[in-house]
């Protein structure tokens, strides 16, 4: 696993729900690229065009609330987003991210963030840097149990490698 993630911020507000991340009308597919083409469409119809590989979503409270559809983190990951940082995450969404290996960080940094800001996540130090805002934030530490799943590369790899 890399220790530094660098990318440009795509900033959203509070309670971004899984219905806007990937609306139900696209849920007859679980193909990652098809889902990515419609990611965030109901919030920002140009999201899939705007977003560049490596970009980082910076969000407020309760990111990913609503439905349990794993299609939501799959769509985000396949759009090229390298990590999601939020003040808080809705529980099922967070679980799904851990399970599929989309990097998520709990950190309250949205209030100073602007679209396009260069964000550096230093996982070893547990810090996030916003260069333009000249701010350094601490990331909420990840529980050991979760670290183990992530280090195996997701839940199912953990299951298989543990020898079922």
């Amino acid at each position: 696993m890399k220790n530094i993630i660098k990318g440009n911020a795509y900033v959203v507000g509070d309670s971004v729900d899984t219905d806007v991340i990937i609306p139900a009308r696209f849920l007859t597919s679980d193909n990652a690229d098809e889902l990515a083409a419609h990611c965030m469409e109901d919030l920002d119809k140009d999201f899939s065009k705007k977003v560049k590989k490596g970009d980082i979503i910076v969000a407020g409270d309760n990111f990913g609330c609503g439905s349990s559809r794993e299609h939501a983190p799959i769509a985000i990951k396949a759009s090229g987003i390298s990590a999601v940082i939020a003040k808080s995450f809705a529980r099922i969404f967070l679980r799904n991210c851990i399970n599929i290996g989309l990097m998520v960080f709990v950190c309250d940094m949205k209030k100073d963030a602007r679209a396009g800001d260069e964000i550096t996540i230093d996982m070893r130090k547990g810090e996030i840097i916003n260069a333009r805002a000249k701010k350094i934030y601490k990331v909420k530490p990840v529980p050991e149990f979760i670290k183990k799943i992530v280090s195996f590369g997701g839940l199912l790899n953990y299951a298989v490698q543990r020898g079922r």
């Binding site: 806007v20 597919s29 609503g66 529980r91 099922i92 679980r95």
Partner: protein
């Protein structure tokens, strides 16, 4: 230990567990549907051949059924074939309905069970005193491989309701009141316990409604400690016996006197934007939806029928009735509710999720407004991005359908 900790210590084979601990627990029931199932099964098949505990796995196809297009038909076919091969329970249209209505009906969930489902409203079964929570497709694949699942033991947030329930006040109003008070992430990661004299007197159907919407406050689970009403509900249904667990103190307690509460509505676009229905009389509606895993049970239709009896829905409005299951549908026919709805000008859909998630059978056009007994009013939830959904009880939705504007049933 409290009720949740007792269930989870039993399911994880530990002497004791406490809030904040990570555990692996046995699952009595593992649920998936036609949206989350295909992904779970594909992930499972990459790594395994046979389900560890086939008796625990249940597939219900309800979101896009009767299938709305070729893709959804292919998904259901894929799940049906998988179910046959693995010899697991599969609910087809004609013997099923909406997952969270049929699992308790068929006796699949019992008090004291641990249930996971790749559907966020799996929290519904807490009404039976199960520890029941929504997860993702990968979790279901894991549970099929391993026969268990990881949890963080949640803290319990207790809500104690007292006072005299006003006319037309239902479980839906109580849960909207609660979500309005604590907000859409007010119970994030926590198990919401519903208690007090009001809950003791509440019907099982309305307890299902309340637990169903725990997730709308971010709750991991919602539950009512089993009592005589729970035992009566379970009696005579097939399946496992109930397991009894003791309760203990909760981390937080909120007390609410509900005597002055009037029928409530959640306005777009979050379930915590709650206020009295009577203050929304200016809102004109194009469609009313009565049904879903929140309010698609027999007493919900009894309430709606009481309002609609001898009345007609407002000209130019569409009212869609969605029985939650075949059993509910049959019962509603027998009791004459279906006839009441037909005479009032409603259309009766088959048991399906349909418009609840903007799937099919009642999608809103741009700029349209609906009042609905479902659980979510997010942007675009029932159709076009510019459409709007107001959440309410069956009484309030039916009264509003009659008037053509949002009203409190008291105003009819």
């Amino acid at each position: 230990m409290n009720y949740v900790e007792n269930i989870l210590s039993h399911a994880s084979g530990r002497k004791s567990v406490s809030a904040g601990e990570y555990i692996e627990a046995r699952c009595d029931t593992v649920l998936m549907n036609d949206v989350t199932g295909p992904l779970a099964v594909k992930e499972f098949l990459k790594r395994g051949k046979k389900i560890k505990n086939p008796g625990s796995v249940v597939i219900v196809c309800d979101h896009f059924t009767p299938n709305k297009d070729i893709k959804s038909a292919e998904n259901v076919k894929f799940l049906r074939d998988f179910a046959r091969k693995q010899k697991i329970r599969f609910f087809e249209i004609g013997n099923g309905g909406v997952e969270h209505v049929i699992l308790p009906e068929k006796g699949i969930v019992k008090p004291g069970d641990v249930v996971i489902g790749a559907d966020s409203h799996t929290c519904t079964y807490g009404a039976l005193g199960a520890f029941s929570t929504g997860v993702g497709s990968t979790d279901v694949a894991f549970a099929m491989l391993m026969g268990k699942i990881w949890f963080m033991v949640p803290e319990v947030m207790e809500f104690v309701y007292s006072g005299k329930k006003g006319k037309f006040i239902t479980g839906k109003d109580l849960i909207l009141l609660t979500i309005g008070k604590i907000g859409v992430n007010g119970a994030n990661y926590k198990a919401m316990k519903f208690a007090g004299t009001v809950i003791s007197a509440l019907s099982m159907d309305e307890r299902f409604t309340m637990c169903n919407m725990a997730i709308e406050a971010g709750g991991k689970a919602g539950f009512v400690v089993p009592d005589k009403k729970t035992a009566d509900y379970v009696k005579g249904r097939p399946g496992r016996k109930a397991r009894n667990f003791a309760d203990g103190p909760s981390a937080q307690t909120f007390k609410m006197d509900i005597s002055a509460v009037k029928p409530l509505v959640a306005s777009p676009h979050l379930p915590d934007k709650v206020g009295p229905a009577a203050r929304l009389n200016k809102v004109k509606i194009d469609q009313a939806v009565i049904g879903s895993c929140t309010n698609g049970r027999i007493s919900d239709f009894a309430q709606a029928a009481k309002i609609m009896k001898g009345r007609k829905i407002s000209a130019g409005l569409r009212c869609i009735i969605l029985p939650g299951s075949q059993e509910v549908y049959a019962e509603a026919m027998k009791k004459g509710y279906i006839e009441t709805f037909l005479k009032a000008g409603c259309v009766i859909a088959p048991p399906t999720c349909g418009p609840c998630l903007g799937g099919h059978m009642g999608i809103l056009a741009g700029g349209e407004t609906a009042i609905s007994t479902t659980n979510r009013n997010f942007v675009g939830r029932m159709g076009a991005v510019s459409s709007r959904v107001y959440l309410a009880s069956p009484y309030t939705a039916a009264a509003s359908a009659v008037r053509g504007r949002i009203i409190s049933p008291e105003q009819l």
